[in-house]
Every structure is written in C-alpha cells, then in structure tokens.
C-alpha cells in the first residue's frame, strides 16, 4: 500500500480538524491553512513523481482486496489533477489571508476550504463509483457553506440555485450508481470496466451512460445544464470564486473523462459523438453569454462554461491526441482561470467594484497588475507562446486528424470571441481613463499623472500578489517550456485509452 495515496485526503482532513480546534483564533487558522495547503501541494507532487516512476499506484482501504473494498487509485491523470488541486488550494489559501474578512474567518472559513480540498482530492483518487458519489457530496456540502457564508442577499440567491441544481445532479448520479450496481453487480470501477461489456442489455448500459452524462454534465456546467454557474460564481468573496472556478467544474469533467474512457466505451459512435456535440454547443453558448456581460467576474464565469467545451472536445474525439489535448487544457485552464479570478479580486481590492463601467484607469495606476492580467487573459484566448496556445493547438490537431472539421471550426471561432471578450475587459478596466472622480479629481487640464501614492496598496499586499505572480509565471512556463507538460499529458492520455493497465493495477490480474 502506497501511503502517498492517502496523504492528499488525510492532510486536508487533519488541517481542517486542527483548525476547528483553533476556532477562536483566526490568526492560527491562517497559518495552519497555509501550512496544510503547502503540505498538500508537496504530497501531491510526491504522488505525481511516484506515479511517473512506478506506474499506476493503488491502495486497498482496510486491506480488503479489490473489488470488495474501497480502492484508491492514482494513474497519471488523477495525479495531475491532485497536483492541480494542491496548487490552486495553496494559492487560494495564501490569497484568502489578504482578502477574506474577519467575520467569515471567524465562522470557519479555513476549515471549510480544507474540507473542500479533501473532497476534491478524494474524488480524483477513488477507484469506486459509489465512493466517488460520497466524495462529491463532501465537496458539495463544503462548497454550499462556503458559497453562502456571510449571508449577503446575492450570495443566498446564488447559493439557492447552486444547491438546487447540484442536489438534483446528485440524485441522478445516485440513481445511476444504483442501476449500475443492479446491472453489473459491482461498484469497483476497474471491475465494472471488465463486466460491463458482458452485460446483455446493452441498451440499458447506454441509458446508464446518458444518466451519468447528465449528472456529471450538471456538475461540469456543460450545455444545456450550466445555468447555475454564472448565476452563483460571482456572488461569494473572490477567493471562494477563484477556488470554485479553478477546481469544482473540473471535478465534473474529470468524472466524465474517467467514466467515458473506462466504463462506457461500448457505443463510442453514439455516446462520444453526443459528447462532441455537447462540447461544441457548450463552447458557443458560454462565449456568447460572456459577450453580453459587463461585470468582471460574470464574464469570467461564462468563460468557464465556454472552456468546459474544449475539455469535453478531447473526450468526444476519443483519441490519444484528443485526450492529451483535454488534459493539457485542464491543467492550463485551472491555473489561468484561478489567476484571472484572483486578479479581478485585486482590481476590486483597489477600486471596490467588479463593474467594468466603474472600473478604469487600472493600467495607469498599476501597470504591473495590467501585465499580470494580460498573461492569463491572452493565454485564455490562446495567443502563442502562452499555455493556452499549445492546449488549443493539441485539440485542433487531434480534431483535424479525426476529420471532425465542424468542431475544429467552432473551437477556432470561439477562441476569437474569447479574445474579443478579454479585450473588452482590458479596454474597460485597464485602458480607459478612470471613471470615478470621487477619489481623484479629474486632472485633465493640468496633465499631471495621477499620483500613484493615492492608491496605497492596502496592507497584506504580498499575500495578495504572490499567488497571482506565481500562477502567471506558471502560465508562462507552461507556454515557453511546453514540452514536459505536453509529454505528461500524452502519457496520461495513453493510460486512459488503454484501460487494461488500470484494471490490471487495481485487480492485480485476478480472474
């Protein structure tokens, strides 16, 4: 048994428990949170290293042999996702220390954050489909509370929609798991992969595939089930938005990729073509929704939807190149999207608003911030040499290789619209002259530049900027030195497309 598999679940749990003991001391909770998140990141990197060197790692909980007990499995894809969770968790915890208000901190913000991370890591690592449901619920309940914590009117309304649709998706997921057990008689995913092709009622299996597609589609915010996302993601404090934007929908995408590469590969021409169509529609509706918005975080929320389409595109193509593109895209997207949300929070920190109309003049006042915004924004649109370019290039090449020209054209068009949308934020928030004369009187006549000292960055600016800078540097690295990252994604895709290795690792070649 590899202890590294348990650590990404155990570390956040212990951190949350100890933080709860320090309930009345938010200062301690902050340091505990940072320490716990750093430990999680370190453990996840160790796990990735061990999977890269030693192949797929498994651990049988309570020493019950698979398929009877609960198995934790880490193939490369899982390990990559856990690293991403650790990275985003760490960045967001550090950022939270500078932005989350005292009231939220004293009502258990940090313990909840770590419970959320535990749920996310658990979902990535489990090899049991019912266990996946349980981790989803752990993640959901923590996210419900984080979303509603603070009790502002907007938050409660957003949380309402989020809770309702996610509970519906959970009910569907649960029903699908129940029927799956009734059909195949096992819940272990590797065992299911072996038994499902032998099930006689192949129609029922395809029905199940569709149930899973809907259940995970809601969680991943795929077309036409994404409405909860733009209605809720802009309501909580920005650190929470950033965490949700980076991780939560990606858990849905992970589950879709896992289920549709391991379990439901019997009717590829039907299921995966449908996924491809969903991917295209998700891209288009998301980006069109973003065009109509005028609020920093709402634009970004709609872009999450649009980007989910790209991640599903690789799955829909169902080739090694396509999946590798998807995996690279997910890595790139998690970093870039989290960073964009963090930057919108920095802008809000300085100007007190997310409305593009009221923002403005940020470039003059904070040129550094403007550069920091440009890196992830251009990367999101896919401008070379940033990470988004290689992510899209991989997907487009895979699309051309399989002759799916319609989806390739859609993806290209959508990235153009993404660029337009990012330009809009740039022009409105950064480029145009500052709109609010309340702080500085209009200095048009005198021609003196605005005195930057008027905008003294409030205290805690290291914790405010460090995560943004680190994530921006990572985006640059993934673009300029793309080779190792792409290589990793291709390896992970190979593992996904050849599930025999996964099954062998879990069941150990038993009959």
């Amino acid at each position: 048994m590899n202890v590294l598999l348990v650590l990404p679940i155990l570390i956040p749990l212990v951190t949350a428990a100890v933080s709860l003991l320090a309930w009345r001391r938010p200062r301690w909770q902050r340091w505990l949170g940072i320490g716990g998140a750093a430990a999680l990141l370190a453990a996840s990197l160790a796990l990735l290293e061990s999977v890269r060197n030693g192949g797929i790692q498994t651990a049988q909980m309570g020493d019950w042999p698979a398929p009877f007990g609960i198995t934790l499995v880490a193939d490369l894809f899982s390990a990559i996702m856990v690293v991403m969770a650790g990275l985003v968790g760490f960045a967001v915890v550090v950022y939270s220390t500078a932005t989350v208000d005292h009231r939220r901190e004293s009502f258990g913000y940090y313990p909840l954050l770590h419970i959320l991370l535990m749920g996310v890591c658990g979902a990535f690592l489990t090899g049991d489909i019912f266990n996946l449901y349980v981790w989803f619920e752990v993640m959901l309940i923590a996210s419900f509370v984080l979303l509603a914590l603070g009790g502002e009117r907007e938050q409660l309304e957003g949380a309402f929609k989020y809770v309702t649709l996610n509970l519906m998706s959970s009910a569907l997921f649960l029903a699908a798991v129940g029927i799956l057990y009734g059909v195949a008689g096992t819940l272990n995913m590797a065992d299911l992969a072996r038994k499902l092709p032998q099930v006689e009622q192949s129609g029922l299996v395809t029905t199940l595939a569709m149930l899973f597609l809907v259940a995970f589609g809601i969680k991943a915010a795929a077309f036409p089930l994404f409405f909860w996302l733009p209605a809720s993601y802009h309501t909580p404090p920005v650190a929470v938005s950033a965490l949700f934007a980076g991780l939560l929908t990606k858990v849905g995408v992970y589950a879709l990729i896992r289920v549709f590469t391991l379990l439901f590969t019997q009717e590829v021409s039907y299921t995966h073509t449908l996924i491809l169509a969903v991917a295209g529609l998700t891209m288009v509706t998301g980006v069109l929704g973003a065009m109509a918005q005028n609020e920093f975080r709402r634009i970004l929320s709609f872009h999450i939807v649009s980007q989910i389409g790209y991640m599903l595109m690789g799955l829909g193509l169902f080739t090694v190149a396509g999946l590798a593109g998807s995996i690279f895209y997910i890595m790139h997207h998690i970093i870039v999207k989290t960073n964009l949300f963090l930057i919108s929070g920095v802008a809000n920190h300085f100007r007190g608003t997310y409305q593009l109309k009221e923002l403005g003049g940020l470039y003059r006042a904070y040129p550094g911030l403007a550069v920091l915004f440009l890196i992830p924004a251009l990367s999101l649109a896919g401008v070379p040499p940033l990470s988004g370019f290689f992510a899209k290039l991989g997907l487009l090449q895979a699309g051309l290789a399989t002759g799916q020209y319609a989806i390739v054209a859609t993806a290209l068009g959508v990235s153009l619209l993404t660029l337009i949308s990012m330009t809009k934020i740039w022009a409105e928030a950064f480029w145009k002259p500052a709109a609010a004369p309340s702080v500085d009187p209009p200095a048009a006549g005198t021609g003196t530049p605005q005195d930057p000292s008027q905008h003294d960055p409030p205290k805690g600016s290291l914790a405010l900027f460090a995560p943004v800078v680190v994530l921006a540097v990572l985006t640059l690295t993934m673009g300029l030195v793309a080779e190792p990252f792409v290589g990793l994604a291709i390896q992970a895709a190979h593992q996904l497309m050849n599930p025999a290795g996964y099954i062998e690792a879990v069941l150990g070649g038993r009959p």
């Binding site: 009117r153 907007e154 309304e157 957003g158 309702t164 509970l167 057990y181 918005q293």
Partner: protein, 115 residues
Amino acid sequence: MNTWMAFVIGGLYAAGLYMMMRRSIVKLIIGLALLSHAANLLIFTVGGLTRGRPPLIAAGETSLAAPFADPIPQALVLTAIVISFGVLAFALVLVHRTHQTVGTDDLDNLKATDT
C-alpha cells in the same frame, strides 16, 4: 412487487419534479427530499427484491446459497439517506436565511443574480 415499486418510484420522481417547479421555496425543498427518496427506493429495487432470505451462511456451510437479499444496495441506501439528511438540513437553513434576508418565499423574486 417489482411492478408496484416501479409505480411508486415513478410517482415519487414525478411528485418531486412537480414540487421543484412550483414557485415556493419550501415546496422546492420538499421536491428535493422526494427526489432523494425516489433515488433510494430505485437503488433498493434495482438491487433485487428478495424476501425472507437474509445473507447469512447457514450452519455447516461455507458459502451462501443462491437466492439471498443482497446487503450492498441496503448499505448504499443507508449511506445515501445519511448524506441526504445532512444536505437537506443545510438546505432548510439556507431557505430560512434566504427568507429572512430577501423577505419572500417566491422563487420568481430571486432573480437578482440571473443574467
């Protein structure tokens, strides 16, 4: 028996979805509760209904004799009940807070965050 259960489950799903589409936030919660009940009964039924055959190995035998009630669906249902209990309790508090803050129980008045 299976046929009757199918009707019960279908009825629960229909009632749950109907309640969710009403405008009152309390009815929405009732609808969610009905949905989770429906899912639980579905798992229970799909797992196979076997009466009077507990999964116990008879004295002197080494393995289970064929028709027996599968304990796993019951374990799944139990887990799901606990989870949905917790989640529903949270949803109730959320409804209460929303009602306090917004001052309405009409979902049509909760559109401020929509686009």
